[in-house]
Structure formats: structure tokens, C-alpha cells
Amino acid sequence: QDLERHFDEIIARDQRIEPRDWMPDGYRKTLVRQIAQHAHSEIIGMQPEANWITRAPSLRRKAILLAKVQDEAGHGLYLYSAAETLGADRTEMTEKLIDSRQKYSSIFNYPTLNFADVGVIGWLVDGAAICNQVPLCRSSYGPYARGMVRICKEESFHQRQGYELLMTMMRGTEEQRQMVQDATDRWWWPSLMMFGPPDHDSPNTAQSMEWKIKRHTNDELRQRFVDMTVPQAEALGVTLPDPELAWNDERGHYDFGEIDWSEFKQVISGNGPCNAQRLAHRRRAHEDGAWVREAAAAHAAKHSHAAVS
């Protein structure tokens, strides 16, 4: 109870919980789940973008894209490490991912169908991720909060690069402008779904906010994203695929149309356009690599024996 009071005080004072500190089981479990999901999202999120590395139409864009996908692998590593400070095991988390026992962000269950998707993912998907993640830099759990600082910095960079690609394409040919519009049409609604279900349908939000794992509700963050994005779309010259999108002077926010929550639930529950493909890909990569990991372990074991003897 002393421990629990100490924990509560740290939270109340907006200080950080560190790995060695006592924490309630629920806090630990919630965090492990959240960080693991976040790590998985980085790893699965590599796939839709990596899909275009070999076909990037300029060497500069190829380098930018490759570096971005590499950063995502780095973020995954970071986040798995942060989860490990809470007692989770990377191999186990990977197995939970490929057995569908842990989730990843649903946004990556949509296909990338033209090169503008790379830019739109940077603009909208990374943009939404940043809205979600900036508050996490003040998460009460130290390793996660520090990881998020670095991750957010890199994601802002990716977002600007994505937007810049789209700007460039909009100054190109008519076909290129159509590619940007087409990609925007496909990614807009799924991006809004990235903030999760509406508040009235989000049971875990209250506890997470109390623990200061989460700082804003889903709907607050979603509104922030819409308000930020609409002027960017105008500057770009694309139309967001929502006829109800309009500035509301009274609210001081943009109104927007109803999200198709049935689609959201389908994708979350495994029936999106690419769920099966993404998991099969990750599973196959993991299985194909088993002999390599075994060999590395065997070599390390021999080596440490040799060092001891």
C-alpha cells in the first residue's frame, strides 16, 4: 500500500514511472499491450511502404523511402525494448502478433496502389500518428515517453517529406495529380479511424487517462487532426472525400461526416483488404528466418563456452 501510494503520487505530480518502480498490475498490462501494439504497428507498417521501394521513380525518393522504412524498423526495435523493461519478451510478442493474439494499427490493412500512396501515408497516416503520439511523449512511463520523443521527431520529418512529395507531384502532370487525388480518396477515412472508436464507445480511455498513459480522448485527437489537415489539403489542391466537411464558426472547428464504423470494426476484427496478406507476410519472414536465429544462438553459445573454458 505504501508502494501504491508512492505510485499514485508520482502520477499525480506528473513525474515518470521507471522500470525499477513498483506499479499496479493493470498499469503494467495496459502499457505492455499498448507498447507491443505500437511496436507491431511499426513493423507491419513497413510493408505497405516497402512495397514501393524498388519502384520509386527517382533515386532521391527511393533513398527517402528506404530511410523511412528503416526508421520504422528502428522504432520497432525501440518499442520492443521499452516493452521488455516491463518484463515482456520480444520473441513472445512477435509470436503473439503472427498468431493474431496482439493487434497492430488497422491502417496498415489497406493496400498501397500507386506511388502517391507513399506521400499520402506520410501526410495523413504519419500526421494522424503524430497527433496520437505527441501526447505520449508525456506518458507516465519513462522509457515509453523518452522513446516517443525520438519517434515523434522522426515522424514529423517523415510527414514533411510525404507532403513535399505530394506538392511536387501536384506540380507535375495531370496523371500525377490524379494519382494524388486517388490516394487521398482511399486514405482519408482510414486515417480518421486511426484515432479509434468514438469516445462513447471506448471503454479503456478513462482508466488510461487516469494513469496518464493517455492524455486526450479519441474524438479530441481526431478533431485536432481534421483541423490541422483541411488547410493542408487546400494548399495541396486536393479534395478530401467528405462532402460534409465544413468550417463551423461556432465550434471553432471543422465539422466532418460520419465515419463508417462498420468498416472500422471489420478491419479491426481481421477482415480488412490486407489483414491476411500482412500477417502471412510477417509470419513467413519470421519462419524463413528461424534457421538464422538458431544459427546465431548456436554460434553465440559455442563462443561463450569457449570464452569460459
Binding site: 510493408q47 524498388t54 528506404l66 522504412v69 528503416q70 507535375g172 500525377q176 524463413d288 538458431e294
Partner: protein, 271 residues
């Protein structure tokens, strides 16, 4: 001139196509650490390719930028060695090919640091640092896999047998390389045989002179990995023509079809 441009294209294409094959590994590697490392190597090589192809465009004087070389040349104008274009195999094949490629290229770039072409020399100096890391990475994995499990040892042997037939080509000088490798001595040697002039650098390196260093490094790494240099015949070109002559393997056409598809679908595009 034209020779310098052609030489930069050769070294640039080696890096570009090797990078492409490593890019294809992205999201398929056995560990996240390997995802980061292999992407890093692919990025380094892509960077080298960009500098070299840009240098080629400047030396050629035709006003072509790096993207012209990557996306708008037909297959027979690509001058990379065939080693880099082969279809990807398993992780042992990646490691083996990278070991061979980076050992060879490190020896090459190391000597090119004093190239008479200052741009090439600067590119080489930067590249040496990068490739040193690539070679170490490949060597470490060669040892781990060669001296890991029976399975990994078997796979490394198979990989060596698959890759080795393309090793000889790395040390076969193309006429352009031969000309640029001797030109310095000729150019400067005119009547002046003093010590300084004899060692005046050339623009290029005759790759044949790199063989013994390559053999030494490979022997050392393979020994530490409990592996042996395979006894396999080199794979000839067609009527003596090799990758440097623009004669490739059947894998190359598919690689280029993919790599060039978006750029060619939008020849007027801005990216």
C-alpha cells in the same frame, strides 16, 4: 571524357543494382536488427550510385542526371558485374554475396581514393568508410552461419557454390578500365621517369590487381567460419562479353522492368 563517364557508370551500376537486390530483402529479414543493418547498407550503396551516376553525367557532358541513368537506359547499357543482379536466394546467399561484393569493392575504393579524378577520389574516400562496415557485417554473419548449426553451415556452402562462379568476372578488366588505369603513367611518363611521376595516380584501377587482397580476406573469413572456398568453374559471358560489356543474365530484364516501371509510365513526371 567518355571513358571516365563509362567508368563511373560501371561503378555506379554495381552499387545501384546491388542496392536494389538488398532493397528487395526489406521486410523479409530474420531479425529487426538485420532489417536496420541491411537497409543501411542498401542506403549507402544507393548513395554511392547517385554520386557516381551524377559524376558520369557531368563527365559525359550530355546533361544526363542520375535518374536518366537509373530509369531510362535499356538493359544493354547497364554496365554492372553480373554478381549484383542475380536473383536473391536465402539469407546465407545475401551474406555470401555481400561478403564477396564488399571485399572486392573495398579493395577497389581504397585504391581509388587517390584517383586522378578528384570527384571520384572523394566518392571513394566516403565509400571506404561505408563499405568497411558492410564487409564487417557480412564477415560476422559468415562466421556465425558457417560456424552455427549444421543447417546454417550447409546453407553457407550452397551459397558459396552459387555465388562463386561470378567471382572471376569481378577481376576481369574492361578496356575502359584498362585505359584509365594506365593513362596516368603514360600521360605523365612522357620523358619524366623520376620517382614522383612513376607513382602518379591513374583515374581507375585495373581490378585484376585486387585479386590477391580479395583472396587473402576471403581465406581468412572462410577459415574463421569453418568454410572452404568452393571448387566451381566461373560462368562465362556470351562470346566473351560480360556485365561490363552490357551483356547480363536473364534476371536483369525483370529487375529493370520493376525498377523502371513507374518512372517510365510517367516520363514527364516530377517526383
Amino acid at each position: 571524357g567518355a571513358d571516365l563517364a563509362a567508368y563511373c557508370v560501371m561503378l555506379g551500376d554495381d552499387a545501384l543494382i546491388m542496392s536494389h537486390r538488398l532493397q528487395q530483402w526489406c521486410t523479409w529479414l530474420p531479425e529487426l536488427e538485420e532489417e536496420v543493418a541491411v537497409a543501411n547498407i542498401a542506403l549507402d550503396l544507393l548513395g554511392q550510385a547517385r554520386l557516381l551516376l551524377t559524376r558520369a553525367g557531368a563527365a559525359d557532358g550530355g546533361g544526363h542526371g542520375e535518374d536518366y541513368y537509373a530509369f531510362f537506359r535499356p538493359e544493354h547499357e547497364f554496365r554492372n558485374v553480373r554478381l549484383v543482379e542475380l536473383e536473391n536466394g536465402d539469407f546465407a546467399e545475401l551474406v555470401t554475396r555481400l561478403l564477396v561484393f564488399s571485399t572486392w569493392r573495398l579493395a577497389l575504393l581504397d585504391r581509388l581514393r587517390v584517383s586522378r579524378d578528384p570527384v571520384l577520389a572523394a566518392i571513394a574516400a566516403k565509400g571506404v568508410k561505408e563499405i568497411t562496415y558492410h564487409r564487417d557485417y557480412a564477415a560476422q554473419w559468415t562466421v556465425r552461419l558457417g560456424d552455427g548449426t549444421d543447417e546454417s553451415h550447409r546453407r553457407m556452402r550452397a551459397a558459396l557454390e552459387a555465388v562463386w562462379p561470378y567471382v572471376d568476372e569481378l577481376f576481369t578488366a574492361h578496356p575502359v578500365e584498362q585505359r584509365l588505369a594506365v593513362q596516368a603513367a603514360e600521360g605523365n611518363g612522357d620523358g619524366a621517369r623520376g620517382g614522383d611521376h612513376d607513382t602518379a595516380p591513374a583515374v581507375a584501377i585495373d581490378p585484376g590487381t585486387l585479386r590477391s587482397e580479395f583472396d587473402d580476406v576471403l581465406a581468412q573469413v572462410l577459415k574463421a567460419a569453418s568454410l572452404e572456398r568452393p571448387e566451381v568453374a566461373p560462368i562465362p559471358g556470351v562470346a566473351g562479353k560480360l556485365g561490363r560489356d552490357g551483356v547480363h543474365t536473364e534476371a536483369m530484364g525483370y529487375l529493370l522492368a520493376e525498377m523502371q516501371s513507374v518512372a517510365r509510365a510517367h516520363p514527364e513526371g516530377r517526383w
